[in-house]
Symmetry: C2
Subunit: 106 residues, 2 copies
């Protein structure tokens, strides 16, 4: 489970992958594997939540890092780059770092 | 606060807005206003979390609805359409409904 909260120093990475429907589940598996094997053990990792769109054409990784510096160190890690190379063969990624401006619950 | 959990019947709406940096804060304000005034009171609403990218060019609404039917009823609501019309003047939206495939926490 991950929590979305306003304020704090978390850097939220939202990575939106565009994928062909026949590759969607394979992409989900690659991202789960990458998180279990590598990303989840890198210092500064807080959480990662992998989402599949119901229409088959998107996958979103909603991830939280302790800081922008921790995210950048991960991105420079050769093991992380290896995973991202595999992913880039079947999907295009649009990733940005975010802050939570506000959150509302019922 | 919102929680991301695997399983369950929640329909997650991830709406990725592309915006010019000079309009980013205005878009955030419009989405907060829409949630406070309208979306948050529509049956089936669970949560909405508004995110601003640190590079200024994206805004993401990570929202949860009780079901796809609840989301669709909201999308047909004239008050919701009014808000979306205002938003569409300053941003383009890429929205899809998602399921959580898996979630990992430290």
């Amino acid at each position: 489970m991950a929590s979305i909260e306003k304020g704090g120093s978390i850097a939220t990475l939202i990575n939106v992958f565009t994928v062909a429907p026949e590759n969607q589940q394979h992409l989900v598996d690659l991202l789960i594997q990458a998180t279990e094997k590598t990303m989840g053990h890198i210092p500064g990792f807080v959480s990662a939540s992998i989402h599949k769109s119901r229409d088959g054409v998107r996958v979103v990784n909603y991830a939280q890092w302790e800081s922008e510096a921790a995210f950048e160190a991960m991105a420079r890690d050769p093991r992380a780059q290896e995973h991202m190379k595999a992913v880039s063969k079947i999907a295009t990624a649009d990733f940005h770092l975010y802050d939570v401006a506000d959150t509302f619950s019922k």
